[in-house]
């Protein structure tokens, strides 16, 4: 068993490091700290941030992969999440089954031993233990309550300890609606713990066409959604910031060239540009099978390429905004003063212009996140999304597309995918609303 990092794993942890350091740097300035705390003064923002936190933690736990060499069937790459869910990863039923069902959803023809004839019958599910519903529920709820109580208690203790120090920071700290935070945290932990404990005995969200557990599939899809939403910005930001600021600051032919570049790119219909990029990537990957050793690595590489394509096609609108704002800021007195003092161009851009663009950048990052999560589903439906073997909400929806037309309906695959997606996007939307409200100087908050 050894640590094995996929390409996207490396990038996602890189992003965590980048975000942590920039957050830490920002927190050193009291002005920025006050702004950040103001975001969390609204109950909605706190609640949605905690929901987002749960998604991110699950996505990160699915981004630490291990390669097991000891198992009998070849080299297997598993993540922490796979290890926690191993009881549902390796066990597969034969076909559809409803949530918490103990029998298959469709009849199969079997030979009845007693009557010596072939009959149609609902077969019992292989990996379900019924009869312990109440006991498991109590166990699940208890685990959740204990876990939540432990963490909330720790935090309360820490708050009580730091409350003695009367610093401006602790005042900001105490105006956060902690009760909302604790309630949402406790509810989510209890729900998750209950679902997790129950998943040992039941398929809590049912199974799909080939008998795969949908709870496991939905959890695995979180990583795909969160990664597409976050890593794309890692590609977008450098392009948009460097090009937008240079265009606005240098003007002249640099401006003309960059304007031409983003007008050209944005005039191509987005989906088509992505589709053309993905088609190219598919051909390229087919001709280079040496780039990946396993199916998992192939789907990971494809995810990486998709993220890059999404990033390259979606920087134009942010670049346009940054260019306009830079044009304005470059005329400000403090920039002119800096020029008069002989401060170099790059230093002016880095120290005087970019920090004043941060609110635009941050707003666009949080605004884009939910759009990208939703776009993944549409792209997978069109056939230019992530690898078909990869767990993603788009693939789940795509595979379950015809299930509603069945008689009787199979609703749970779509339900799982859509509800996991809805909660994430709703939380992201609510949070980005609040960020925009606080950081946008035009909003009358």
């Amino acid at each position: 068993m050894s640590l094995y990092l996929l390409w996207t794993d490396i990038l996602v942890w890189l992003l965590v490091v980048v975000m942590a350091t920039s957050f830490w740097r920002m927190m050193r300035s009291p002005l920025a700290r006050e702004r950040w705390y103001r975001i969390f003064h609204a109950k909605v923002a706190v609640a949605s941030a905690i929901v987002l936190g749960f998604y991110v933690v699950i996505a990160l736990s699915d981004s630490i992969h291990f390669k097991s060499t000891d198992s009998g069937y070849g080299n297997q790459i598993v993540s922490l999440l796979d290890m926690a869910m191993v009881h549902r990863k390796s066990t597969s039923e034969r076909t559809y089954s409803a949530p918490f069902a103990d029998h298959e959803y469709t009849r199969s023809i079997v030979t009845d031993e007693a009557q010596k004839k072939r009959v149609q019958r609902f077969l019992p599910l292989r990996y379900v233990q019924t009869g312990h519903f109440l006991r498991d529920t109590i166990e699940g709820l208890g685990t959740g309550i204990l876990f939540a109580a432990l963490l909330i208690g720790l935090h309360l203790w820490w708050r009580a300890r730091s409350a003695h120090k009367h610093s401006p920071a602790s005042e900001l700290h105490s105006s956060i609606p902690w009760r909302t935070a604790y309630t949402v945290f406790a509810l989510l932990s209890i729900l998750l713990a209950w679902l997790y404990i129950m998943s040992f005995s039941y398929h809590v969200l049912g199974t799909d066409k080939v008998g795969g557990d949908l709870f496991y599939a939905s959890l695995k899809s979180i990583r795909t959604g969160v990664l597409i939403g976050t890593l794309t910005t890692l590609v977008t930001l450098p392009l948009a910031v460097i090009l937008g600021v240079s265009a606005g600051y240098f003007r002249g032919w640099v401006d003309d060239l960059i304007q031409y570049l983003y007008t050209t790119l944005s005039s191509i219909p987005g989906v088509l540009l992505i589709a053309a990029g993905v088609l190219m990537m598919q051909v390229m990957m087919e001709s280079h099978p040496e780039w990946f050793a396993s199916t998992l690595e192939r789907s990971d590489l494809r995810l990486l390429f998709l993220i890059m394509i999404l990033g390259v096609t979606s920087w134009t609108s942010l670049c346009r905004m940054l260019r306009a704002e830079t044009l304005r800021i470059a005329q400000m007195d403090y920039v002119i003063a800096a020029q008069a003092f002989g401060v170099g161009r790059w230093r002016i851009m880095l120290r005087h212009i970019v920090p004043n663009l941060m609110h635009i950048i941050l707003i666009s990052v949080v605004l884009d996140f939910s759009g990208l999560v939703l776009a993944e589903a549409v792209l997978s439906y069109v056939g230019v999304g992530v690898d078909p073997t990869m767990y993603s909400w788009g693939n789940m929806i795509n595979q379950a597309r015809l299930e509603m037309a069945r008689e009787p309906m199979v609703w749970w695959s779509l339900f799982s995918a859509f509800s996991f997606m809805f909660v994430l996007v709703l939380a992201a939307n609510l949070f980005s609303d609040r960020v925009q409200q606080v950081l946008d100087p035009r909003s009358d908050a």
Binding site: Y260, L261, T263, T264, L265, S266, S267, I268, P269, V271, L272, L273, A275, A276, G277, L279, M280, Q282, V283, M284, S287, S370, L374, A377, V378, Y381, V382, G383, V384, W393, I397, R401, M404, A405, M409, L414, F418, M421, F422, V425, L426, N429, L430, D433, D444
Partner: protein
């Protein structure tokens, strides 16, 4: 005005050349004419002579960017890129890889696309603005707040959900409209009704929020206060002052998409089996038919640039401060 238009159209040429360059590079970087010939002729028993013949027949036997065997200016013009681009500029889309006339296909598929996209666009515009005005009228009230929460929720649901839920509810359970398909003439109404309704509803959340924020920006302007001070009723202020002034920023967002309505909606058309340009594009993507994708990219870019020009013209028409 005329001079401005000519300048804009001339400026569109380098952009379209750039668009062609991007698609061309994406296409030929991985898929050489030899590969295309092999794919079309079948993998078996292709001799170099057959490939050469196919390439010659389809005009792929020229070098990509630089023809060293030609002389003078022809070194650049007698190449695949210049020829292909030039053909696209004359709207000669050629034949698809499956040997269908693309221009003919596009012409016959524009109608069905428009029959969904245009009503969706118009109805959505009217509903969104009406609702937004209503919310601005009751701003700060419980009604406003609850509607904004509903709007965020509508925004947060995947568009695919509305389509699937709509089909199940209205077609499968209530049998109001057929699940999918299309017919010519007035018959088509029963087919397009559900896609239009779903299209309008799915865009409601984002639309209402956007229009509301535009109108709210106007509410705090001085001229609105003056109008109120004159003793105008809130409704008169809303319709005579806020609405006309709010229309200007709305123009920027709205006019630019009008030409692109021709392209149809990818998802809607493929779910409802509408034989429009959207489903045409999706089929081409799935069949990896790059000739069609290339044609649609070009068409989409032309329509987008047309939209930008129309936006400027509409500004000059409606905003007395702007002259072209």
């Amino acid at each position: 005005m005329i001079g401005y238009l000519i300048r804009r159209i001339l400026y569109a040429v380098p952009i379209l050349v750039g668009v062609n360059l991007i698609t061309f590079v994406l296409f030929f970087m991985v898929n050489t004419p030899d590969d295309m010939a092999r794919a079309q002729l079948g993998a078996k028993q292709t001799t170099p002579a057959m490939i050469q013949a196919w390439k010659h027949e389809h005009g792929y036997d020229k070098p990509l960017f630089y023809n060293s065997s030609a002389k003078g200016i022809e070194q650049v013009t007698d190449t695949l890129f210049v020829r292909e681009s030039f053909r696209l500029f004359l709207f000669d889309f050629g034949r698809s890889d499956a040997n269908r006339d693309i221009a003919e296909d596009i012409k016959s598929r524009m109608g069905p696309s428009l029959s969904i996209a245009l009503p969706t666009f118009l109805i959505a515009l009217v509903t969104n603005i009406t609702l937004a005005l209503l919310l601005v009228l009751f701003r700060g009230s419980v009604f406003d707040l609850s509607m904004m929460i509903v709007a965020v929720m509508i925004m947060s649901v995947s568009g695919l959900f509305y389509i699937i839920a709509g089909q199940v509810l209205f077609s499968k359970i209530w049998h109001w409209v057929p699940i999918s398909g299309y017919a010519e003439g007035w018959e088509s109404i029963k087919f397009v009704l559900l896609p239009i309704a779903i299209g309008v509803f799915a865009g409601l959340g984002a639309g209402v929020r956007w229009y509301r924020s535009i109108f709210l920006e106007q509410v705090h302007q001085d001229y609105v206060r003056t109008a109120r001070a004159k003793g105008l009723s809130e409704i008169a202020v809303l319709f005579r002052h806020i609405l006309p002034n709010g229309m200007l920023p709305i123009l920027t967002g709205v006019v630019v998409v009008i030409p692109s309505l021709f392209m149809g909606s990818l998802i809607m058309e493929s779910f409802f089996g509408i034989p429009g340009l959207g489903s045409y594009t999706i089929d081409a993507i799935n069949a990896q038919d790059f000739a069609i994708v290339k044609a649609m990219v070009f068409l989409g870019s032309v329509l987008y640039i047309l939209g930008l020009i129309l936006t400027d013209i509409s500004y000059a028409l409606f905003d007395p401060r702007v002259t072209l």
